[in-house]
Subunit: 340 residues, 2 copies
């Protein structure tokens, strides 16, 4: 593989200086039409593409964005990342994607790598809001940050989802169906959506006049084994909840499996609302009532906010909140043996 043609090769072939070639690429209006045509012809003939490394060294801009997600296989993450990539690419930015597998140490390493690579900004979906090493690494970073659905003590723009309102609506809906013993299963991660949902669940059940002692919040450690076990523990016994809200399709799977194992039919003997699991909501029987979000919108808005920040580095920090919504399907029903 021979050396790639440089701006100098193009200049020589077109009989102009390198500056002129550069201008054809960056600000064509500065070059006369005849010269421009000659240069463009030379570029085509040689198969010239600008060397981004050299350009980025000179301009101190890499036109690339780093993106850190905990898990790309998780449907919402993939959908958000894909939408963001699409919009960043349209603006001429490339996406450097890293998946941390929920490991804060891996995230710190990834941040270092992205810093070395001179990304112009960062799309950040961290897996632990409380990790001090991570917070320190972020503060040291000194570049535009767009934080997704996290509360972090750093200067950054933030794009949040409003998890509370739709979840309250879901709880009211279940209470309206006569349920008095609810549970919510959340991943055991120190991140905002979990905090918000727990809070909204407790507030909404209290508002609905349900006995606080009969409501359960279960935080599940990662690993399918734990997920299944937690679901089985929750659903077994006479005081088991009659309705559960479950975050994430992996945990939903576990609950479906546990319910099947225990012979609890959905929705007749157990009502189920899935949170952020729209990838499987319409293939189960019955289909799942879901609290979901518009992931395409999230990715799009995130990309937009970051691009605006890059264009206006001095502007005040922004904090945007997008709605969640409830989608009623068939996984909820009245309480079995309702006393009403």
């Amino acid at each position: 593989m021979s050396r790639r043609p440089t701006i100098r090769d193009v200049a020589r072939v077109a009989g102009v200086s390198t500056v002129t070639v550069s201008r054809v690429g960056n600000d064509p209006a500065l070059v006369s039409p005849t010269t421009r045509a000659r240069v463009e012809q030379a570029m085509r003939d040689l198969g010239y593409v600008a060397n981004a490394a050299a350009r980025s060294m000179r301009t101190r801009l890499s036109r690339s964005i780093g993106c850190l997600v905990p898990d790309l296989v998780n449907y919402p993450n993939a959908a958000i990342a894909q939408a963001a990539e699409r919009h960043l690419a349209a603006a001429g930015y490339s996406l450097l994607l890293t998946s941390s597998d929920y490991d804060p140490a891996a995230e710190v390493r990834a941040l270092e790598a992205l810093r070395t690579r001179q990304v112009d900004g960062l799309l950040l979906y961290v897996s632990d809001e409380t990790d001090p090493a991570l917070t320190r690494a972020l503060a040291r970073l000194d570049m535009p940050l767009l934080v997704l659905d996290r509360t972090l003590p750093v200067d950054a723009d933030t794009l949040l989802s409003a998890h509370g309102p739709a979840l309250r609506e879901a709880v009211r809906y279940l209470a309206g169906l006569g349920h008095r013993r609810l549970a919510i299963m959340l991943p055991g991660l120190p991140v905002r959506p979990v905090v918000e949902r727990r809070r909204a669940f407790l507030a909404a059940t209290a508002e609905a006049g349900l006995d606080p002692l009969a409501q359960r919040v279960v935080e599940v450690p990662p690993g399918d084994h734990h997920r299944l076990r937690a679901a089985q523990d929750l659903l077994a016994g006479p005081a088991a909840p009659t309705a559960v809200l479950v975050e994430g399709s992996r945990q939903v799977r576990a609950v479906l499996a546990a319910a099947r194992g225990l012979g609890r039919a959905i929705p007749h003997e157990l009502s189920l609302i899935a949170l952020d699991a729209s990838d499987i909501a319409t293939v189960t029987t019955p289909e799942l009532t879901t609290v979901t979000r518009d992931y395409e919108e999230i990715g799009r808005v995130a990309a937009g906010l970051l691009l605006e920040r890059l264009a206006a580095p001095g502007a005040p920090w922004r904090r945007v909140e997008l709605e969640s919504r409830i989608e009623l399907r068939g996984s909820c029903g009245p309480v079995p043996g309702d006393r009403g």
Copy 2:
């Protein structure tokens, strides 16, 4: 935001030359322990990270890999990309990810962008094997290519999945259950897996002694509307197949919906085998018998092949094939009203 510290700043603080600093980063053994310690301290104090653009300009290596996938939301793609990213990152490479949305023109544009960005190699999952513009762009690329599950007329290493054997096994299994009218639904994309599966389906049904005229191959254009329509058309009528093989979870959804709409119960009135849809296979009722692959393995091997190619640019091209396997679950049963 002030200028980031450079190798020169570190050199000044540590009282050494820039080369020494460079060596501490790249080949520490060349530097005496005391000097090294002093340099490392200075790096920490200043928060120095090397500028990858400058390094890459000097070394002509970017230590980044481009990855082109048609759709990141598609579970197998996400799983493969994530596994590849993990292994590339472990080797010090970053992943530039682009999703083309099945648009060959977008793929050509993305290739141009990745070329400009001087990626050292490419992980390529194109959406059209036959597009001449794409093939031309690839030939022009002049960098190590790892082609995933495609047959492309370019010099490249190739990682294939063996789609045929497991699919033949699936057909034999269905024939063994008494099915005489089978169908296969494939996406209407000119790519190798579709070609392979079509061929294997036709060969296996013939081998099983089934009337060739009663077997149907349906190629479905993209779009959920088309998917549902195609499924309804296929399943309606007296000559409808009693068993279908369906590629991709989106099409599987459509078939499930159509079957439900037509009142055809699975597996009693319709047998279903899903191809590459393991994300939903265990949440449906009944769970789906599936032909699937080890996506983590694919991503890992792909990354490994590419890394080996980067280490040995002159080695002969490689062509690796990984197995598929069938996972029996509950979506297949004997033919309704079997004459046997």
